[in-house]
Every structure is written in C-alpha cells, then in structure tokens.
C-alpha cells in the first residue's frame, strides 16, 4: 500500500492550507494598517472642517485598498489550495476503492435482526452497560443471552481476584457437560485452589482440601494427583521446589480462557463472537466480490439472480466450518445426490464421475490418477 505517498500528498495539502490562512491574515493586517494610517491622517487634519482634505484622505485610502486587492489575494491562494485538495481526493480514489457497496444486494436486510446480533455481541464481549444503552436506544426487546454472559463475567472477575469459588461451583453444576466435552476443567480448578492453599495456607488445610476435592479424580487422573500430593513436601516454599511451575500465573490465564470456552459450549454458543467472524470473513472476501461485481456488470450479468458465486472467495482456515468435497474430474461440489466415492486405490471422485468413467456397473475402469483398475461395486461412499 502506497500510504507513504498518500501521506506526502496530505502534507502538501496541509502546507497549502497553512499558507492560505497566513496569507489571509496578512491581507487583513495590510488592509487594517492602511485604514489606521488614514485614520491618523484624519485625526491630524489642520482644518477639521475642510471637506476637501477629508475627501482626499478617503479617496487615497480607497485607491490604496484597490492597489492591495485583498479579495484577489485571498482568492489566489485559495485557488492554489483547491488544486491541492482535488488532487488529494483523486489520489484517495485511485489508491482505495471509492465505492465498496458495488457488490451489495439491495435486499431486505432486516434491521431488527442486525440489532439483536449487535446486542448479543456487546453482551458476550462483557460490555453490559453499552448493551443496555443500545437496547434502550434501539428499543429492542431483551436478549436472552444477557444473564448467562453476566454470570460468566462474574466468574471471570472473581478469578481475576484469585477467587475460584464461583468457577468451581459452575464446574460442579455442569460436570456432565464438561466430561462429555472431554474437559478436565474441574480438576484443573481444584489443582489451582490446592496450590493456592499450599502456598498461602497450612499443610493441614492443603491435605484436607486434597482429600475432599482431589481424591474423587484419582481413579482417572492418578499421575496428576500423585504429583500434587508430592507438592505437600514443599508447602510454603513451592517456588523453590521441582513443582515451581504450578505457581505460574499463566495457569490462571489459561484456565480463564478454558472456562470461557466451556461456558460458551454449555450455552450452545461459539467461542468467537459470530459477528466478528462474519465481518472478518467480509473483509477477506469483499475485494474479490467487488472485482467480480465489476466483471459481471461489464458483461451485463445479473448480480441479484445469482444463486452461487462463480468464483471462490479464499478465506483463511479459521473460516472452514464444513467439509467441502470438490470432484477433481468434474469440479462439482459433492452433495447428497452426488456424494464423494472412494476407489480401491484410495483416490476419491464424485459418484457421477465414476458412473461416467465406468459406463456400466460391471465393467472395470482405470483410475484417472493412477493406473489401478476398479469397478463401481468396489467403490465406497464417503462421509466427511
């Protein structure tokens, strides 16, 4: 991006603006001085009643001001500035896309739906005041996600002040869900609590805590529990033990992140804000869409009627939520009617391509990618 040259162009405009305004000031001063000189002459008149002298002074002043030509001077510098201004505007139009709405479909894009999405976004980012202000101003009805996200932020807030109680309570209440997700969040929270007690409390407290809360995990996580129990030997001086790593503050950060992840999962929500995901995809996809809209407009093709984009908008991997199979022979996208099929050699084509290659269900045919022979019967449908 040529931001450097744009900045230079702007500096030139700003310089001209400064010149222009100092020129204006100068002209005003000049005119002011002329008037003041005439004023002094008027006051110094020997014969105040001499209308002739008075008129001479005023006519002289008038002539001098005409000579100065203040309006012309101001106009002149303004004109030069205007040239700079329009140059800069043109430069912006050249380097940037002056109309990014060219690929916009003028369809019913429901404001209320968008407002609900924005409100959810504010709440899930923890911006509750802002969310409330917005709901109020947009006169939107309550969003159901507000109170669960409030709970989540209360838990996280407590964790920031090293209070694990709300987090532990939540984890215990949602134990089944956590286990189903394969998450050991609950054990990790207890481990953190245990280490806190070990470092700040007594060995007895730590032992008591371990017996009460860690022992139920022993059957599945024996190795972990053994390590933790060994920590008891260094109670109060864990920092100089082989287990000093347990004290690292990154455990708190990581756990806060994992809790957020699990909390969203329990809510049936995504981890990332869906609005942020769509907008980011929009930023990555729009440049290609705009090029496409231009090409299609030139060919007089209908933008609105198109059911599928004719070209891929290559997004990053983070935006791949589904398996898309594209047959290497026909370039068709796999579907229920035309599913991907695995040939005995391991290569995969779509069903229609295989039917075309084989011509009949019993005949053998050659894989187009390796010389291996196959029959339709030997091909298997794949499920991604």
């Amino acid at each position: 991006m040529e931001l450097g040259s744009i900045r230079d162009a702007f500096d030139r405009v700003a310089k001209k603006q400064k010149l222009c305004s100092s020129k204006t000031q100068e002209v005003i001063d000049q005119v002011g001085q002329e008037i003041e000189q005439a004023l002094a002459k008027l006051q110094a008149l020997h014969d105040p009643s001499s209308l002739h002298d008075l008129k001479t002074i005023l006519t002289e002043l008038n002539g001098k001001l005409k000579e100065v030509g203040p309006i012309n001077q101001i106009e002149g510098s303004q004109k030069e500035l205007n040239v700079g201004l329009s140059k800069y505007a043109k430069l912006l139009e050249k380097f940037f896309n002056p109309d990014i709405s060219k690929a916009y479909r003028n369809v019913d894009f429901d404001t209320q739906t968008i407002n609900q999405i924005i409100a959810c976004h504010f709440y899930r980012q923890g911006l509750f005041d802002l969310g409330d202000c917005f709901m109020n101003e947009a006169m939107e009805p309550e969003v159901t996600l507000k109170s669960p996200f409030m709970e989540m932020y209360q838990i996280l807030e407590a964790m920031r002040s090293r209070n694990l109680e709300p987090a532990l309570k939540w984890a215990a209440n949602n134990r089944d869900h956590l286990v189903q997700n394969g998450s050991i969040l609950e054990l990790k929270l207890h481990r953190l609590q245990f280490v806190e007690i070990l470092q700040n409390g007594s060995r007895g407290d730590a032992l008591h805590y371990a017996r009460t809360y860690l022992s139920p995990f022993a059957s599945v996580h024996m190795a972990e529990i053994q390590k933790l129990m060994a920590c008891l030997l260094w109670a109060g001086r864990l920092d100089s033990s082989p287990y000093a790593e347990f004290l690292s503050p990154t455990h708190w950060e990581k756990l806060a992140e994992e809790l957020t992840q699990q909390f969203c999962s329990v809510l049936g929500q995504s981890y990332d804000s869906p609005l942020a995901v769509v907008i980011e995809a929009g930023f990555q996809g729009l440049p290609t869409l705009l090029k496409l809209a231009n090409v299609m407009a030139a060919k007089k093709q209908e933008w609105l009627a198109m059911k599928q984009l004719p070209v891929p908008l290559d997004l990053g991997r983070d935006f791949q939520f589904h398996s898309i199979f594209v047959c290497p022979v026909s370039r068709d996208q796999g579907s229920e009617e035309n599913p991907p099929m695995l040939m005995p050699c391991g290569h995969v084509l779509c069903k229609l391509s295989i039917v075309k290659l084989s011509k009949s269900s019993t005949r053998t045919f050659k894989c187009p990618y390796c010389p291996t022979e196959a029959t339709v019967a030997l091909c298997r449908q794949l499920h991604f």
Partner: protein, 422 residues
C-alpha cells in the same frame, strides 16, 4: 495395495505426501511462507476498502476551510465597499469619517479573531486526517487481531450513527478510545437536521442545503425542492391557501424548469384538501412523507461526505455471509462455531448467494482441523472419514482400537485406509 503418493492439494497446501522428517519440515516451511505472504496480501487488499475512513475527515477538513474562506471573503468585501462608499460621499464630517474608519478597524479585528478560531478547527481536522493514515499504517501481521478488533468497533460506530443511536455510538467510541477514528462530530451535524425533520421543521435542513448549495447542484440533488414541496403541503394542510400560493411562487416556481410534473402535482393539492381520498394526493398528505425526507437527507448527507449509502456493517455482513454460506450450514449438525448455525445470521443470509470452492477443503469431524498432507483423511470400513491426528490419538488411548463417533463402528487402526483427495 498402497497407492503411489500423489499430490494432495487441500486448500493452499502444495507439498507432496512423502513422510521423511526433512521433507515434512521443508513442506511446512514452504507452506508457512505463502500463508504469511497471503495474509499480508489479504491485508493490503482489505485496506483498499477503507476509502470512507480517509475521505470523511478530509471532507470535514475541506468544509472547515471553505467556511473560513467564505467568512474572510465576505467581511473583506464589506470593508472594501464601505471604504469606497465613504470616499464617494460628499457631506461627511470629520467625526463621522473617524467613527466610520474606527468601526472598520474593529470589524477587521473581529474577523481576525474569528479566523484564528477557524484555523484551530482546521488544524484539528487535519490532525484527524493524519490519525487515520497512521492507523492504517499501523496494521501489521503481528497486531492484526487487535487491529481487526478496532476495525469492528469502527464499523459498529458507523452503523450506530447512521441509525441515529447516538448515545451508544458515543459510548462505544469513548470506552474503546477510538474517537479520532470515527465520525461522531460529522454525524452531529446530521443529527440537528434529522431531529428537526422528525419535529416537522425544515429550517435546519434548508440551512444545510444553502450551506452546500454548489455541491448539491453538482450532484443534481432535488432535496431542497422536496423540502419546499413539503412546506407547501403543510400550508395547504393548515388551509393557509393564500400563503401557500405566495410560497409556491417564491420557492417552487424556480424548480419548474426541471421538475414541472412534480410541481404540477403538488400544486393540484390546492384543489383538494388534506382529507382527500384521491390516492395520488392522499399520499402527499401522509405523515410518513417526513420519514421519507429523513431518509432522503441521510442519503444526500452520505453522498456529500463520500460515504457509502449503506452502513459499512451491512456491506461487510453481506460479503461475509456470502463467503461463509454453504448448503451444509442449514443442516442440524452445523458446527456452533459457524455463525450460520444461528437463526439471525441464517435469516440475513437467505437472499444471498452460496459460496463456491474450486478445491476440496475437508474438516475433521472430531478435531475440526483441516485434513491435508500433514494430517491426511483416514476412512473407516463404513465410509466415515476422520483426520489421522484424531484417530492416531484414539488408537493410542484404546490399544489400537478406533470407534466411529457417528455410527459407533469399532475397528482396529490398521483397518483404516487413507483417502487421497486432489
């Protein structure tokens, strides 16, 4: 029989499926570099979308300059013509002349003060233009996620301002510290006009038209005419027919040359009354005409400042939804991480086209990771496919046995076959 290793191109990966450590390392290096440069390329492309971001403060800057210039010119002309007028008078006393010139001197001093004020606001606008350039310059691969976060906030503020949710807009800008990157001040100017139109007052809108006369004329805007028509209709509604006719003569007639049909139509309301049942005229008396004027004003306003007519948020939402939309999004097992698993986004995406892929892109059902050369797809005897990473891990934990999570089929890891997707 094991097939020959063939090129597995899944997405942007181009490495061949050999398995020595060295070749994997070089393959990773070879794909990492294009990914990095692709990201920078993406960034450069999406920065080009930021025209409005630079254009609006520039227009604001220009506007300040224009208004200062206008003041200077007007005052100066008054002073000059006042001097020449005095020079042409024959019966002025000394005292009168002194008073006259003194008043001119103080007038010039007043002008100087005004221009100094004006120059302050010019500098502020210029500084804002620079802040925007700096912000674009600061976008780099390393801080991209934070930068993108700010961008989303900017776009949200734009949306809030356009829909007149000013309090939320100001609040969001303040709490994110992005006041220089959003156009709250510019929209404040619009707010005055919009509020007045909602109160059925046209004066601020007319003043705005006068202020931007030459530019509105250039874009062949008929907004002022529409405002005048509305004022006329209001006079007819109030049964103030004499005044209505006087008004029409003064303010509507000048538009006759270019907008005769509309002019005739609205003049005909004189023959009817505000309670007319005739559809053509009834609509002119409807109160939603005022809402229409608000919409009209917003469009003129955006055009003048070089903004898109649609909120940026809507534009990016549409592009993003099209990019993400696949037939699979509407199935029940659509991943929660996919925004299109949500009703609201599905509704918005309804009238938009599906995305298109030229190459297979396969996502592991278990790990949600992309299956490619480094993590090739493995097939269960029943045809279900998962990534090598996921199944290796499963086999390691279960003595070499793997279970298909969707069908429950159990087999040993060695029974799985590799699929080659090109």
């Amino acid at each position: 029989m094991e097939p020959e290793p063939s090129p597995l191109s899944n997405g942007d990966s181009t490495a061949a499926g050999t398995t020595t450590a060295a070749s994997i390392a070089s393959a990773v290096a070879a794909t990492a570099a294009p990914i990095q440069s692709a990201r920078i390329n993406h960034l450069a492309e999406s920065l080009k979308l930021e025209h409005q971001f630079l254009r609006v403060p520039f227009e604001h800057f220009k506007k300040s300059m224009r208004s200062n210039h206008r003041i200077a010119e007007k005052e100066m002309s008054t002073v000059i013509s006042s001097v020449s007028e005095a020079a042409n008078r024959d019966n002025m006393s000394q005292e009168e002349a002194v008073n006259h010139l003194t008043s001119l001197v103080s007038r010039l001093q007043g002008l100087k003060r005004k221009l100094e004020e004006g120059s302050k606001s010019e500098n502020l606008q210029a500084q804002r233009c620079r802040a925007r350039l700096d912000h674009l310059d600061a976008a780099e691969a390393e801080n991209l996620s934070e930068w993108n976060n700010t961008r989303l906030k900017r776009i949200l503020v734009d949306y809030l301002l356009r829909l007149s949710y000013y309090d939320t807009a100001v609040k969001l800008a303040e709490c994110s510290n992005i006041e220089d990157l959003v156009d709250i001040e510019v929209f404040h100017e619009a707010k005055k006009v919009i509020d007045a139109l909602h109160n059925k007052e046209v004066a601020p809108a007319l003043a705005w038209c006068a202020e931007n006369k030459s530019r509105l004329k250039k874009s062949k805007s008929k907004f002022e005419f529409q405002l005048r028509l509305q004022e006329f209709v209001e006079l007819v509604r109030a049964d103030n027919n004499i005044r209505a006719i006087t008004y029409a003569r003064k303010y509507l007639a000048p538009w006759g040359a270019t907008h005769m049909k509309e002019l005739q139509r609205v003049m005909a309301t004189l023959a009817f009354k505000s309670n007319t049942e005739c559809a053509t005229y009834k609509v002119l008396f409807e109160l939603k005409q005022w809402d229409y004027l608000v919409e009209q004003f917003k469009q003129e306003f955006c055009r003048l400042y070089g903004m898109t007519l649609e909120p940026l948020l809507n534009i990016y939402l549409q592009a993003g939804l099209s990019a993400l939309k696949t037939p699979f999004c509407y199935e029940n097992d659509c991943s929660k991480e996919d925004p299109l698993s949500q009703e609201g986004f599905r509704k918005l995406a309804n009238p938009l086209p599906f995305s298109k892929q030229h190459h297979s892109k396969l996502v592991c059902y278990i790990t949600k990771e992309l299956m490619d050369t480094e993590n090739p797809p493995l097939v269960f005897p029943n045809g279900h496919v998962y990534s090598t990473k996921a199944l290796e891990e499963m086999a390691r934990k279960n003595d070499g046995k793997v279970t298909c999570p969707r069908t429950g089929q159990v087999c040993s890891y060695s029974e799985l076959v590799k699929a080659f997707i090109s």
